[in-house]
Symmetry: C2
Subunit: 353 residues, 2 copies
């Protein structure tokens, strides 16, 4: 048994763990270990939004264009593709990309091809919406949790080594306890989401400024390799409770501090669905995510189901990753997206001065 | 808003609260405030056990005898009476008594009338079982939580002043955070329950030695003053989930660190049922109680129901009190009780030497 906090990220505590040294978790779970020189990662969602089904080929072409730019110098180390329909009935194609080097990400983003494409006036007139939502947590600001030990998805591709069985799981607050920064920092939210360019109600280009400690959770399910029993388990027992909880957050998250919640289905470059899905949730703060997770009936049902099935899992892969980031390490930009997209719904529009 | 930890019980922390200073609970709750000179309380359960219904008059007479001894010098400040049928089908009458002064309790217990009655050989041949389970937590080692502000039951009779709205509730781990000792101490269990006199399998007199930080929870419901709507709420919505959870702990508690769990109905001196009940649970440690409470489906259902109804409560009174105690401040003694009574079930019988 070992701590989820890697040895080189341990520091003298000013804040204590929730559980004492004699705590023993009820079943084994694992975290991803990164190289010691990994300092900060970039998690970037690039989205293409369309209202009408007949825009799908065009939207897929746009998605493929974005993925094509990953082949440029300083492209991401890993990415995956998804589709979801939001509660405004709009389709959204997204690629979630991960960099292990924020400087490389910065060079990539500022390259003529990438910056020029985003800034081009053509983006405004294509009949598609675009967004990019990017956070760059330092390694102290993130945690992972896997019920398996190989081929980690998401940020785990940058932290690919499996830990041994870790101590900090199986209790509410354990995600916080797995984040190295929790040794000394409460990760409190500061400030509020603010529209700093454009007007969501008008469409066009909109930029939202974030704030310290916005929390991002990716919580995933991968049943590609599952046999018939585990597929039934996923489809009949896990998915219905999961869908309820994720729909609740999508539609009522604002009251709980959830800025945005997208339950997305993995796809290939042609838009074909894969047997993978994940939820991508942005929260005002980790503590508001904790409060919802540990008290809301829909999430408690998800949790109880997970506890019941986890020890029997073979090929069905369940995992999550949680991070917070500094306000200065966040980018939220939109082009012609509907005003309930991503951070737009909850961002304050300053009164014109 | 104020801390659940009274000002004179605050001390420099070596352990942090689970939540940051900006935490805001979702609804108001209150704790009992005792006088500043209250240092340690005594919570004593005196039980009368009988297998056959026709022993009831005799058992009630024994209960009345015990209650009669409370009129002696140094008797308890408060007591209440209960009945329950345990999972061996035995009836149990209990009186739970509270002292604000452990020295007074000690004088009472050692008085000729009380000590003589307990030690008398007559107790062995009356066809009744007897037990006394007594813990004496210091004020740093206990907490209360009330959804109301007047006429506190249980240990609240010794701490009768209502606080203002308190900060530490509405999240898992808040009971720990309400206990002053949590500022500096993990309250870890040490040692194990051990039979130090007699043999539970043989009946007769048995004494069990406890260990540091055995945790006692009293969790109560009082619908005496409730109108028809709140009675229906209690009977139709709260009680069924509560009964499930309490039955689970009674029958399966051993696997979770619950030494004993008694869901009892309040009665008067003649054995008539009152519209009050409470659960009395002994746990190996607070953290094992926390783990069960925050993860077991039966308790999560209780919790979700409570969250749903609490803000609408008028005359239905819900509360709990939780304490830990030092091993030296615990007494567990039995006379002719069945071997699954109280601490007997989980107490280790030393190999004869």
């Amino acid at each position: 048994m070992e701590s989820a906090i890697d040895t080189h990220l341990k520091c003298p505590r000013t804040l204590s763990r929730r559980v004492a040294d004699d705590y023993a978790p009820p079943f084994p779970m694992f975290v991803g270990r990164g190289p010691k020189d990994l300092q900060q990662v970039v998690m970037a969602s690039f989205g293409v939004q369309y209202a009408d089904e007949d825009r799908r080929p065009q939207a897929l072409a746009a998605l493929r264009h974005i993925v094509g730019t990953f082949e440029l110098a300083d492209g991401p180390a890993h990415h995956d593709l998804t589709h979801h329909v939001d509660n405004q009935g709009h389709h959204n194609l997204m690629v979630l990309a991960y960099w292990a080097d924020p400087a490389a990400y910065c060079r990539w983003l500022r390259s003529d091809e990438v910056a020029g494409w985003w800034a081009s006036d053509e983006r405004l007139t294509e009949g598609l919406g675009y967004f990019r939502e990017i956070v760059a947590p330092r390694v102290e600001q993130l945690e992972t949790l896997y019920a398996f030990t190989e081929d980690f998805p998401g940020v785990g591709t940058l932290m690919p080594q499996a830990s041994g069985e870790i101590e900090e799981h199986g209790y509410w607050g354990s995600a916080r306890d797995r984040m190295p920064i929790s040794q000394t920092d409460w990760m409190e939210a500061s400030g509020e989401l603010t529209v700093v360019e454009g007007d969501p109600a008008q469409g066009g280009r909109v930029v939202v400024r974030g704030h310290d400690n916005i929390c991002l959770i990716r919580s995933g399910q991968d049943w590609r390799a599952a046999g018939p029993d585990e597929r039934d388990l996923y489809v009949d027992e896990i998915l219905p409770t999961l869908q309820d909880g994720m729909d609740f957050l999508r539609d009522n998250g604002q009251d709980h501090g959830c800025y945005s919640n997208r339950f997305v289905r993995s796809i290939d470059l042609d838009g074909n669905e894969l047997d993978e899905s994940y939820n991508l949730g942005h929260w005002r703060s980790l503590d508001l995510l904790e409060r919802w997770a540990e008290s809301h009936p829909t999430h408690l049902r998800i949790f109880v189901t997970f506890f019941r099935v986890v020890t029997g899992l073979e090929k069905l892969r369940l995992y999550h990753e949680v991070s917070v980031s500094d306000g200065r390490d966040q980018t939220f930009e939109y082009i012609n997206c509907h005003p309930a997209t991503g951070m737009l719904r909850d961002a304050r529009v300053p009164v014109a001065g």
